[in-house]
């Protein structure tokens, strides 16, 4: 009797979640999978209308066979290789600095570092495009005056440009998460370490970081998945400048361009599904990998 009542209560409480989950997650993903199995065919010169035909996995083959789509993943890989260590390392370093006894004006720095995150991504990208543009940007002018000629829109400059924007946006946010976790560290452990003669460095690396491992793993996971979704910043750079950031620079942009510039919804859906699968696999890998290491330690 008691068990039944608990079941009913759980059912009632969970219903809103499942309704929303179905509407905004399951249905759109299902629809994307459905769309990805069809393609549109025309006849004559193509001006007589079109018909939708089942094409099986042809859209997937087309996406995977397109060098532009594969290059998008290569760009993502390059992005992750630089961005993730910089982000985790940078946020962790800043959080540890704020948490150390040396830091002054903590609240000010906490706020100042977090502030960029309050700027919407699209606005941030616009600001940075301005700062990157030769002849407009005081930064580029100053760099040139100092003898540093760097083209932020050149093929070799594109990746650093995008990474820089993303770091600016997210560093403070992740720093706050780490800092909050550090606040929860038992002070008596730190005092014991001090009594045992550990210096600030030793305490930070051997005690604080291991104690906030869970937060680091979580931030790493979110950063990996967020990286796969890379879209806004490169899109703004692509639209606003004649740069080497192409309209298919990342897989997300590839899907967007396929749908909205090339009117190929089947291809766009297939590319999206492939990207979603990659994200799922990577999340699984990250949780498994970090989880196992946790058990050993």
């Amino acid at each position: 009797m008691k068990a039944t009542r608990t079941h009913t209560a759980a059912g009632v409480l969970l219903t809103p979640f499942f309704v929303l989950f179905t509407l905004v997650m399951v249905v759109p993903i299902g629809y994307a999978v459905w769309l990805s199995l069809f393609t549109e065919k025309q006849s004559g010169l193509g001006f007589g209308g079109k018909e939708t035909v089942f094409s099986g996995l042809a859209n997937y083959a087309a996406a995977l066979g397109d060098p532009a789509f594969r290059e998008g993943f290569a760009v993502l890989l390059g992005y992750c290789v630089f961005y993730i260590p910089l982000m985790i390392g940078g946020a962790l370093a800043l959080a540890l600095l704020l948490d150390s006894t040396l830091a002054r004006a903590r609240r000010f720095f906490q706020l100042a570092l977090f502030l960029p995150h309050a700027v919407p991504g699209i606005i941030a990208a616009l600001i940075w495009v301005y700062l990157y543009t030769p002849q407009l940007s005081p930064v580029v002018d100053a760099m040139e005056a100092g003898g540093i000629g760097f083209d932020f829109f050149a093929p070799e400059g594109a990746l650093p440009s995008v990474i820089n924007i993303a770091l600016w946006e997210w560093l403070g946010y992740n720093m706050v998460i780490f800092y909050a976790a550090l606040q929860a560290v038992d002070r008596s452990v730190l005092e014991a370490a001090t009594v045992d003669g550990a210096g600030a460095w030793r305490i930070a690396l051997s005690i604080k970081v291991p104690l906030i491992r869970a937060s680091v793993v979580m931030v790493a996971l979110f950063t990996v998945i967020g990286s796969l979704q890379l879209f806004t910043e490169p899109l703004i750079i692509n639209k606003g400048t004649g740069s080497s950031v192409t309209s298919t620079w990342t897989p997300n942009m590839y899907a967007y361009t396929a749908a909205f510039d090339r009117n190929d919804y089947g291809l766009a859906a297939a590319a999206s599904v492939l990207l979603a699968l990659t994200a799922a696999l990577l999340s699984f890998a990250v949780t498994r990998f970090t989880g196992r290491k946790g058990k050993k330690a």
Partner: protein
């Protein structure tokens, strides 16, 4: 790009389309409303971005009782306007009438997004327009849009600085190169013009002017040819200008480009008839300093392509075709329509309908160009538009790919010829994918 919430959006496109379908269920379906003789006016919605559109709509509403037009300004086509129109048509909540430039019209027709309006365009209406404009809006023997402007190419230049630097206005492309060298020599920071990596249609207009014919429909086969002598010549010429640093390399209408115009770093602009109004609006402080010349040509004889240019098309879902076409005809064939647009002060449209040109010229305030008769320049250029060009049915794909490659050209990673080749290959495979017959 936001770790905290983007986990819920792994299928952005799927979600967006699903949303479109949901909205489709909600909108539309208010019965046939096409009668224009009833007491209650027919309401139609019009999406566009061309300068002066709002003024035209206001003037129409003030003088017509049977039709009410609601104007909504959307971003220009390549800046997202076309995507917006396509999505609205798919979602079933599209406006009745939309602006589509000539290059994109075949794409919209082949996507089934616009209606055949042959039944509403009689021969005596069609013969008012420049034949090339009618040709470009007639696909597969049917009329799909009402042409508005003819947009012949034109060369805008800073008269004061040309005089100061002792540069003659070029009439051939060889002279243009010499002039470019002189400008650069006179002022190391100044350039005669700009290569627009973001806008393939500017390059295509140059190829068109040189006599290229990228798309040809023969029977039910598309012949795609971008490796012809004319295109090759134009590509090599512009590559040379870029390699020698004789032209600027900036996105069109980007802050960077506008800034260089303001500072005298760019003293010429290879554009089209509508560019006169854009310059007036963008650089009001340079009034009296600009002049317009015919586009340089290869043999010195007048020759022109068409760069952009608007048409008005009725969307697939609209049940007010008659009213929409009537309003489009008013905009494109009546003196009141053209006067309202040009009197807005921001438009220098060159109407495809020849009989409207005197009215357009009269309404245009030429003070900015020192009183020059710029409509005469457009008139001559309009008469020299090569009639051989046609746009293919996949301009979205063709130009997206060329634009991407032009971005690399801008930064030294590829050549213009590579970009054209890439656009060609993408076009051929896109047409094949759609099941069309294609050679090239």
């Amino acid at each position: 790009m936001s770790p905290s919430w983007n986990r819920t959006s792994p299928a952005i496109v799927g979600a967006a389309t699903a949303l479109a379908v949901l909205t489709a269920c909600g909108g539309g379906g208010n019965g046939s409303n096409d009668s224009t003789d009833g007491t209650k006016p027919v309401s139609i919605t019009f999406w566009g971005w061309a300068k002066g559109s709002k003024e035209v709509v206001d003037a129409f509403n003030a003088s017509h009782k049977n039709i009410r037009v609601k104007y909504e300004e959307i971003p220009s086509g390549n800046a997202g306007g076309y995507a917006k129109i396509s999505n609205a048509v798919k979602a079933g909540n599209a406006p009745d009438l939309v602006s589509i430039e000539y290059p994109m019209l075949p794409e919209f027709v082949s996507q089934g997004s616009v209606q055949d309006i042959s039944g509403h365009l009689t021969d005596d209406v069609k013969k008012k327009f420049l034949p090339q404009a009618v040709e470009l809006t007639t696909l597969g023997g049917k009329n799909w849009a009402v042409p508005f402007d003819a947009s012949p190419q034109a060369f805008y230049y800073r008269k004061d600085l040309f005089t100061k630097y002792g540069v003659e206005v070029p009439t051939t492309w060889d002279e243009f190169r010499e002039a470019a060298e002189k400008v650069k020599k006179a002022d190391g920071k100044a350039r005669i013009g700009t290569f627009f990596p973001d806008d393939p249609t500017t390059f295509q207009a140059m190829a068109w002017q040189a006599g290229a014919q990228w798309f040809k429909a023969e029977g039910d086969t598309w012949k795609v040819d971008t490796s012809d002598a004319a295109t090759t010549k134009v590509a090599a010429y512009w590559q040379g200008l870029l390699d020698d640093g004789l032209v600027r390399n900036n996105a069109s209408f980007s802050p960077e480009w506008t800034n260089s115009l303001k500072s005298g770093g760019t003293i010429g602009y290879l554009g089209a008839s509508w560019g006169a109004g854009v310059l007036t609006g963008t650089l009001p402080e340079q009034s009296g300093k600009w002049a317009v010349a015919p586009m340089p040509s290869w043999d010195g004889k007048p020759a022109s392509g068409m760069l952009g240019g608007s048409t008005f098309a009725v969307t697939k879902g609209s049940d007010k075709t008659g009213a929409a076409v009537e309003f489009a005809k008013w905009m494109t064939t009546t003196e009141d329509g053209i006067k309202a647009r040009i009197a807005s002060g921001t438009s220098s449209a060159f109407p495809a309908a020849a009989e409207l040109r005197p009215a357009a010229k009269q309404a245009f305030d030429a003070t900015y160009y020192g009183g020059q008769d710029i409509y005469q320049v457009f008139e001559d250029a309009g008469a020299s538009i090569s009639p051989h060009w046609a746009w293919g049915p996949s301009t979205g794909t063709t130009n997206t790919v060329i634009k991407d490659e032009f971005g690399r050209v801008a930064r030294g990673g590829a050549t213009i010829a590579d970009a054209v080749r890439a656009g060609h290959d993408a076009t051929v495979s896109e047409l094949k994918k759609r099941g069309l017959k294609v050679e090239g």
